[in-house]
Symmetry: C2
Subunit: 351 residues, 2 copies
């Protein structure tokens, strides 16, 4: 039995050899895709879920809204460059931003393991409060649950967000067009490496800090400049490669990417080589790709580079129409390699 989604109907209760949930079902790779396509999508079939987007885009009264949710199970709770609280707020703001929405309101749910020191909970909540304040959004509703020791892992956070869409575009995977420029907002791989280093006590020459950040300001700046954004995607679980593959698959278009154009810091590249990871698949928490008309690419890059968060923004490729649903990477030595979703999971619980 093959596990390719193209190979016809697959029984939702036996994804290949997996009758039970395994870690990779949450890893952003092939197994997670199968769970979504064969179990979740059919049960909750509706036009919003079918958009396959970071946020659902809704019409309520006269307003276009974006609505998103995420659960955060990162281990450890505190890491260089952030913590689970900052991650939860920034991640939710970023999901709203990926619809081009201006974030307005957040909710927050805590699942706390019995025994968590109140001082640690306070640190996390302060961090959430600070991240929300910086973005001028309010945490307007919440919920707190406590589970017994051994039934959680210190703290899980779920958050949801509502944003308002004030631009005229349909920013979603299905909107990309042949000729679109693919812009990356900065260097990749830091969040995943920061987490694994902290978790495993690995010491590299320098401390690698997570890129965890709220990028909604960058997106709103692009829109304010009149950039006709076709699609946005933040590069979380599964990294740059998985984001590109999902967009190419939904849009049924070919995306060509140049490996040498993708910024990876030297220390991150070194850590990846030691750990056997490919930076293209490593999670980021403050990076995104934007698909824009080629004619506006220079302008978009200038807008991004004007903000410290986007100072390393660069053009990494374009949408072509030579074949359907494929991402081709031109490697440093000039070969072309088709990117594929990961089958397993290389870095569990990075967000």
């Amino acid at each position: 039995m093959t596990d390719s989604p193209e190979s016809g109907p697959v029984c939702p209760l036996s994804f290949g050899q997996y009758p039970n949930i395994v870690m990779a079902h949450g890893g952003g790779g092939r197994l997670m895709q199968q769970l979504l396509e064969h179990l979740i999508q059919p049960l909750f079939d509706n036009p919003w879920l079918a958009q396959r987007h970071d946020s659902a885009m809704l019409t309520v009264g006269q307003s276009r809204l974006a609505f998103t949710t995420d659960s955060y199970v990162v281990r450890p709770l505190f890491f260089p460059g952030g913590d689970i609280g900052k991650l939860a707020v920034c991640g939710t703001l970023n999901d709203l931003a990926m619809a081009g929405a201006r974030p307005l309101f957040l909710s927050m749910g805590l699942v706390i393991e019995e025994g968590l020191p109140l001082v640690e909970l306070k640190r996390v909540l302060e961090s959430m409060s600070e991240a929300a304040r910086r973005a001028s959004v309010a945490v307007v509703t919440g919920d707190t649950k406590v589970v017994e020791k051994g039934k959680g892992d210190r703290l899980y956070i779920s958050s949801a967000g509502i944003g308002i869409i004030e631009h005229p575009w349909n920013i979603m995977p299905a909107s990309i067009r042949p000729g679109d420029a693919v812009i990356l907002s900065g260097d990749i791989g830091r969040h995943g490496i920061a987490i694994i280093s902290e978790r495993e006590g690995l010491a590299f020459e320098s401390t690698i800090e997570s890129d965890c950040a709220d990028v909604s300001c960058l997106v709103l700046a692009l829109l304010a400049k009149g950039i006709e954004i076709h699609c946005l995607r933040d590069l979380t679980r599964g990294g740059l490669a998985s984001a590109l593959i999902e967009i190419a698959t939904v849009a049924k278009l070919h995306i060509a990417i140049r490996e040498t154009a993708i910024p990876v810091r030297e220390d991150v590249q070194g850590a990846c080589e030691i750990l056997g990871f490919d930076p293209l698949y490593i999670a980021n928490e403050g990076r995104f790709i934007a698909f824009v008309p080629a004619a506006q690419a220079e302008c978009a890059l200038a807008v991004l580079k004007a903000d410290p968060l986007g100072c390393d923004a660069c053009l990494i490729g374009e949408v072509t129409s030579t074949s359907a649903g494929v991402v081709a990477l031109e490697t440093a030595i000039g070969l072309s390699r088709v990117l594929d979703l990961l089958s397993g999971e290389q870095l569990p619980r990075i967000c």
Copy 2:
């Protein structure tokens, strides 16, 4: 050191003798109140959170929206009368309904423990899908995370919901008025007893089924009939008593309740006596109280009784103005007892 919230500033990092989170911090009683008042509210201070309501009431464009979130950690996942999926959908719909909102959209976040059989996940998702379909709401966005075996308890679900407020009232604790009738939508105590019976393998003469249900239809029927609802509250963690106490405290009014007017099924009463529980404090998942002008009480009761979900609705008391922030229960033998929040937790993880 006293743990009364009225006794002046309390250091948020030493709630009495608790430097670490204990189960009761999630139990809906005094410790949870302290966590909210001393740690969470000050950090996220905003007018929406200050409403102390099941949903935040927001204005976006020309629309009034309700926004809510809940995390579900019920153990076991399946119980007589429902499961965690039905509970998550109904609980979120009910929180929206408590603002008098018509539910529109839901989100769903799954935190799955490695090893959960896919057939069980499917059963839960089918149950969610069915509950959402019955209420004509769509699950428009979601998230899936997997944690290692021993870092969860099979499945936790977080959900958020958006509803639209189409009535002119300010349904919230601060809106209750002296003279208001307090209406209870049905018998109490079944959800908590169903959970504890299933969890502990207790066999009573009959199987006690959870009251888990979406009550938004009842609320919308009251509004359609022109009832000027002042406040609504569903009777989840902490039960009827805790809901009344929180409303009386926020509104700084006195609520008088008659114990003999409160419907408790005989089998539930019997189970409570055996287990040493007070049904007033037991969680329900399909019951609510409504505060309405006395002149409209009869009409409101008639509306509720016309629906099988509200067939046992009854008038249980009224708001008076004789003293501030207190709930007084007139007992079966005619004595008056002031109700207080629970200090510990009697039934952990019932939702």
